[in-house]
Structures are given as C-alpha cells and as structure tokens.
C-alpha cells in the first residue's frame, strides 16, 4: 500500500493518501520518462543499424535493381521472389543449408553434452580441462577454416594425402560440418554445463537410492531439468548454423554445389551486384530464421520452468 503515514498530521488520512498517491504516480511517470530517455540512444542506434538496412532490403527486393545498370531500375512487385523461389540453384542451396544445420546441430548437441558432462564432473585439473576445451571456440572461424582447408588439400595437408576431398560435393559437405562441429562444440558445452550446474545433487542421490542407474538418472532426472538450457543452446546453434558463411567461403567458396543460402546471397549481392535478387535472398533468409526462432520459442515456452508445472 501507499505510504500515507508520510502525510502531515494536520491533514485527513484520505487527503494524505491522495497526495501520496499523486506523488507516487508522478514519481513513477518521471521514472518511466527517465527510463525511456535512457533507452532512447540504444533504440535510435538499433533503428539506424538494424531497422534501416532491413527495411531497405525489403524495399529493394521489390525492384529490378542492378548496380551495373543504374538507369534501369524498375518496380517488379514479387518478381524477384518468383525468380528466386523457382530457381533450382536456390533450392539446392537451401537443401545444403538445412543439411548442414540439422546434421551439424545434432552432432554439436551430442558431443557438446558429452563434453559438458566431462567438464562438469572433472575433479583433477578442472581449470585446465575447461580452458583447453574452449580453444577451438576461441580461434577465429576464418583462421580455423584455413587450417582445415590446408589439412584437406591434396599433397599438402596431413589429412588429405593423395585424395582431394574438397573437390567433391559430399566429402566437402562433411568436412564443412566437421569444422563447424569442431568449432562450436565448446560453446554448446558451455551452455549445457550452465544447465548441469542447476541440477541438485540431492535429486540425483535420491534417484540413485530409488535404484535408478546412471543412464536413467541422466535421462529421467537431468535432461528434464536442463531442458530449457538444451533448447536455448539448440536455438542459438540452429540459427547460427542456418546462417553459415565463413567456413564454406574459405573451404569451398560454394563450388561443387556446396553453397549455403548466405553464400548464394553474397554471390548475387556482392559479387553479382544484383541488388534486387540479392536482397530478395536476404529477406528469405531472414524469414527462414524468424520461422526457426518462432518454432523454438514455442517449444521453449512450453518447456520453460513454471509453464510446464501442470504436466508434472
């Protein structure tokens, strides 16, 4: 309740309450104003760096716009979308991206979980284990990708020998997935380890007393508790994997049908200078990512602590 006792004794209790209320709401309003003011720079910067290019990209995607023919701009409605969505090149890249996303994320989750458990349970040299596990994540992606590329180069790399796996589609795709998994397993493990720290030891001990073996304890106790952490990790990694660019750019630059949608957008926008088609692809990637995020957040919402109480 309000702090009516603060009012002078001469005034009636009701009047005092009213003044206090007014003061309080005034304070609240001032606070909100201050809050908005404090947020404003961030919002303005966000609008400038994110909203403007986004809206501009959407705008451009409705035009025939090519930097090489600046006098030949024309509004063509959904023409670019029809062109892109009816192109086998786009769908091939989409398939490649989905393949890398699904397979890559799966391995990242499994290996990340293993690594997280190891890091969580390590007793000797804990700091060393955790630090060394994080090394791949600390290396700049492009640098790591270059070392992978050299490792898989014919006659030069220690992994390739006489073969040239980066000139073939499927072996290239697996190498891309491998380097992606290698790079991000530590990140996955980090997120999952944060989840593991939340699991009360007592609960595991109790389960143990009830006769649950290690697998049952993990599957029936740990996983349900860290489900939110798993989903957040999966969400991050799925979104990141869907936007995969640098690894492919260095390893194959999209040759032999290994281009992801981001590579395709880059090729058309930056290399091909076709602003219309390139923007259309960017918008389509944006939409795909929004859909993925939406699906996950729906799932995540259902599994969040509190929200799932009725199911227990």
């Amino acid at each position: 309740m309000t702090t009516s006792s603060a009012g002078p004794a001469a005034l009636g209790a009701d009047a005092g309450t009213a003044i206090a209320k007014q003061r309080h709401s005034e304070g609240k309003r001032a606070e909100r104003r201050l809050g908005l003011l404090l947020c404003a720079p961030a919002i303005i910067v966000m609008l400038a760096v994110a909203a403007y290019p986004l809206v501009y990209a959407v705008w451009l995607s409705f035009f025939r716009a090519d930097l090489r023919t600046p006098d030949d701009q024309e509004f063509i409605g959904l023409g670019n979308y029809i062109t892109v969505l009816s192109s086998p090149i786009w769908w091939n890249a989409f398939g490649v991206t989905m393949f890398i996303t699904v397979i890559g994320t799966f391995f990242q989750l499994v290996l990340g979980m293993l690594l997280a458990i190891v890091m969580h349970r390590t007793i000797i040299g804990r700091g060393l284990v955790r630090t060394s596990a994080l090394v791949p994540y600390a290396i700049v992606t492009v640098v790591a990708a270059f070392s992978w590329r050299f490792a898989w180069t014919q006659n030069l790399g220690w992994l390739a020998g006489e073969s040239a796996p980066l000139t073939d589609r499927w072996s290239s795709l697996w190498i891309i997935i491998l380097s992606e998994v290698w790079k991000t397993v530590p990140f996955m493990a980090l997120l999952l380890m944060a989840g593991l720290a939340l699991v009360p030891e007592d609960l595991l001990k109790a389960a143990s007393m009830d006769g649950a073996n290690a697998w049952q304890r993990f599957w029936r106790v740990t996983v349900p508790i860290i489900k939110p952490a798993i989903l957040v990790a999966l969400l991050f990694r799925t979104l990141d994997s869907f936007r995969i660019f640098d690894n492919i750019f260095v390893l194959t630059s999209g040759a032999n049908d290994t281009a992801s949608v981001s590579i395709l957008a880059y090729n058309n926008l930056i290399r091909g200078l076709n602003l219309g088609i390139g923007s259309t692809m960017s918008v389509l990637i944006f939409i795909s990512i929004a859909i993925i995020a939406f699906i996950y957040i729906k799932l995540f919402g259902a599994a969040a602590p509190g929200a799932g109480d009725d199911r227990r």
């Binding site: 062109t83 040239a164 090729n267």
Partner: protein
C-alpha cells in the same frame, strides 16, 4: 629500472614534453610526405615483379607534378573485382587509376565507374597499340581504357613425340590417339575446371567457329549452330580419353604441372610456360628434360584452313570516375605502359606487350622467341563476351559446361541460352 619509472610518473610535464616532441615529429613526417604533390593511387597489377622499378622511373619522369603510389589488391581476379566494385559503388575517391582485367570494361563503364577518354587522350592511348587490346578497352564505340598488356594462348608440344605440331584440333586428337596406341605419352592439357579459364578455352572454340555468346549490344543470348559445333567439339574432346583424367579440375597450374612432369604431349596454355619451364629447368632434372624437348606453335585451327580466334587476356588501365586527379592519372598510366616500361614488364613479369614497337626490340625477341606467332594470333584474337553482365555469364558458362565430359550438345545449348537470357534480363541467379 623501477626508480626511474617512479620518477617519470611523478613528473607529468615530462610526459607531456615527450609526447609533444613525438607529436611534432609525426606531424613533421606527415607534412613532409604530403608536400602538395598530387598522389595518383594505382590499384591492380602493382604486385607484379619489377613493378616498383617502373613506378620509381615514372615518378622521376613526372618531375614532381604527381607521385604514383602503388597499392596492393588481392591475388585472384574475383577478389580484385570485388574490392573495386565495393569501393567504386560507394564512390571512393581514393582510387585514381584502376588496373582492370580486360573483361570488366563493359560492366564498369555501364555502371558509370570509369571515365570515357577524351578524343585527345584516346588518340594517345591507342597510338602504336594492337587492335584487339583496344577492342577490350572499348564499350559501345567509346574508349574507356588505356591498354597495358595483352595475352593469348599457344600450343605447347614435344618435338620428340610429334616433330610437326598439329595444325588443327582434329589433327591434334588423331595424333594423340596415335601416340596412345604406340604407348607414348599422349595427353592434351586443357583448362577444364569450373572457372574463368574454362570460359577462355570455350570462348576460343566458339569464336573460331564464328559464334559468340551474346549479341553486340548484349541484349540477347546468341546460341546457334556455331555454339552447337563448339559444344560438340568440347564434348568429343572430353570423352575421347585423350584429355587428362583430371580435366574437370584442371586450371592453369595443373595444366602446366602435367606438361612439366612429362605427362602431356600437347598443352594449351599461355606464353608464361616458356619462362616458367626455363626457371624450373635450372633446379629440376625432370623439368630440364622437358625444357630441352619443348616447342610452341599456333593454337590449333578449329575450322581447318582458318586460324583459330584465340581469346584475349591482359589488362587495361582505366581512370576512376571518382578520382580527383584524372589528368595526372592519365599521364601516369601513359608512363606506366610506355614502350620502354612494357619491355621491362615483359622481361620481369612476363606481361605480353600491347605496344607494337616493343615486338621489334631485340631484347624482347630474345626473351620471347614465339613473338611472331603471338603477333599473328593477336591480330585476330577475340575479347570475351562484351557485356556488363560478363561476370555472371562467365559463371553460368563454366557451371553449365561442367564437367566437360557431361556436355550433351543440344540440351546444353538450350540450357545455356535460357540461363544467359535470364541473366541479361536481370533475372539470372548466380550459383
């Protein structure tokens, strides 16, 4: 050490004095460097061997009117173009003189990024220059570039295997088949990987049959009987078993390596093969044996009786629209590619001169014994399709015709027509 640090820290004015001294020094250096001389920034080709010597010579000749500054670009053509395009699209005035691949003229001109030469400049820039390089610097009858160097492929062969080089493609295929039957080395080296070099090779075949990929003003794909013939020849060659097994992965280095290792009897490659083999022969016995048994000939005829129309390589200078010193840039370009400096570039970097007089120089003739063949081929050499969309068309051609052995002439021609036409109409998607 410790006490001295303490002492310094306790007297901030010393820091200030030191800082001001450094600042004054730095300012002095900066003002020294920019003593009002116009700086002409050159991009492209500046990493070539011996180019710094040419720049120094031109700077001396400029007598302080301007100073040429060479700038580095990435090594491969695609990345070079990307940097140009990105900076030109944002109207960067920091680039004055652009060393451009011969295929970019139409694109850069159409986008308004490079200046058309004035009548007076055009006269100076084309005097004493071979016609085909001038063509590569021209878009819709306007001259945008100052031809610097040029290039055409030759046929390299092994006289011990075939004393007389094949005159035509058919003859070359026959000879190779014969060599194979005799158990000799027989392979024909050709750049068939999915990249620009494959387009160069295919463009040669196509033009020699009398065809082209786009029409004059680049509004339509011109796929016709000639295209079909070129595709048939390409397919026949790729499936004959006479090409290297790695034809679909072969770029210039691979084609060169196969020749160097004595695995190919014929090799279609640029003139650099001679100087590269000469250098390799100095240290490597295998290379020496090839070097002592190699010769060059005209690129084989595609239509018997008509010399092949070989695709032009090379580089032109263009002046950026956004340059603040176009006059100085033009003068700098003329100096950088003066006959004298072209000779230097030919000897140091292997750049084939665009300047006719250089071919008369004994020193040049000595280093380029194939100069007569080069001149003959250069007379009728052809540029790659002239269109602002060349980059896209090149990608489409190399991907549609890859791998060479999978070409099905009729179907491939149709696919080529559709995809090139789409690109010309702005609907093409780059893979």
């Amino acid at each position: 050490m410790e006490p001295r640090f303490r002492k310094a820290r306790s007297r901030p004015w010393q820091h200030f004095a030191a800082l001001s001294a450094v600042g004054a020094l730095a300012f002095g250096l900066v003002s020294c460097a920019s003593d009002d001389t116009v700086v002409v920034n050159v991009y492209g080709g500046t990493a070539a061997a011996g180019f710094d010597r040419i720049i120094a010579s031109c700077n001396e000749a400029a007598e302080g009117r301007y100073r040429i500054q060479g700038n580095l670009l990435p090594a491969d053509a695609d990345s070079q173009r990307e940097q140009f395009v990105r900076r030109l699209a944002s109207r960067d005035s920091g680039m004055d003189l652009l060393g451009m691949d011969v295929t970019w003229t139409a694109e850069f001109a159409e986008a308004g990024w490079i200046r058309e030469l004035t009548a007076e400049q055009a006269e100076l820039a084309t005097a004493d220059i071979l016609q085909p390089p001038i063509d590569t610097a021209t878009w819709q009858d306007r001259l945008y570039g100052i031809p610097k160097h040029t290039n055409v492929q030759l046929l390299w062969y092994r006289p011990s295997l075939t004393p007389q080089p094949p005159r035509t493609w058919d003859e070359m295929l026959e000879m190779a088949a014969e060599l194979r039957d005799r158990g000799e080395i027989y392979q024909i080296g050709f750049t068939g990987a999915r990249y620009e070099g494959y387009v160069v090779g295919f463009n040669t075949l196509l033009n020699s049959f009398g065809g082209d990929l786009v029409n004059e003003d680049s509004t339509e794909a011109t796929i016709d009987e000639n295209t079909l013939q070129a595709l048939e020849l390409m397919s026949r060659f790729a499936t004959s078993g006479l090409a290297s097994a790695s034809l679909s992965n072969a770029q210039e280095p691979e084609v060169f390596a196969e020749f160097q290792q004595g695995r190919s009897a014929f090799s279609l490659n640029w003139p650099y093969v001679l100087s590269a083999m000469r250098a390799a022969a100095e240290t490597d016995a295998q290379s020496r044996s090839v070097y002592e048994d190699m010769a060059f000939a005209q690129y084989p005829e595609v239509v018997p009786g008509e010399p092949a129309r070989v695709t032009l390589g090379g580089m032109n200078y263009a002046i950026s629209t956004f340059s603040e010193h176009p006059e100085e840039a033009f003068d700098a370009a003329m100096c950088l590619r003066s006959p004298e400096h072209q000779l230097w570039a030919a000897l140091d970097a292997g750049d084939v001169p665009a300047n006719v007089t250089v071919y008369d120089d004994p020193e040049f003739q000595d280093a380029y014994p194939m100069y007569e063949i080069l001149l003959e081929q250069l007379e009728i050499a052809v540029p790659r399709p002239k269109t602002p969309f060349y980059q896209n068309i090149s990608t489409i051609v190399s991907s549609t015709l890859s791998p060479p052995a999978a070409i099905d002439p009729e179907a491939t021609a149709d696919e080529l027509r559709d995809r090139i036409q789409d690109t010309l109409e702005g609907r093409g998607i780059l893979p």
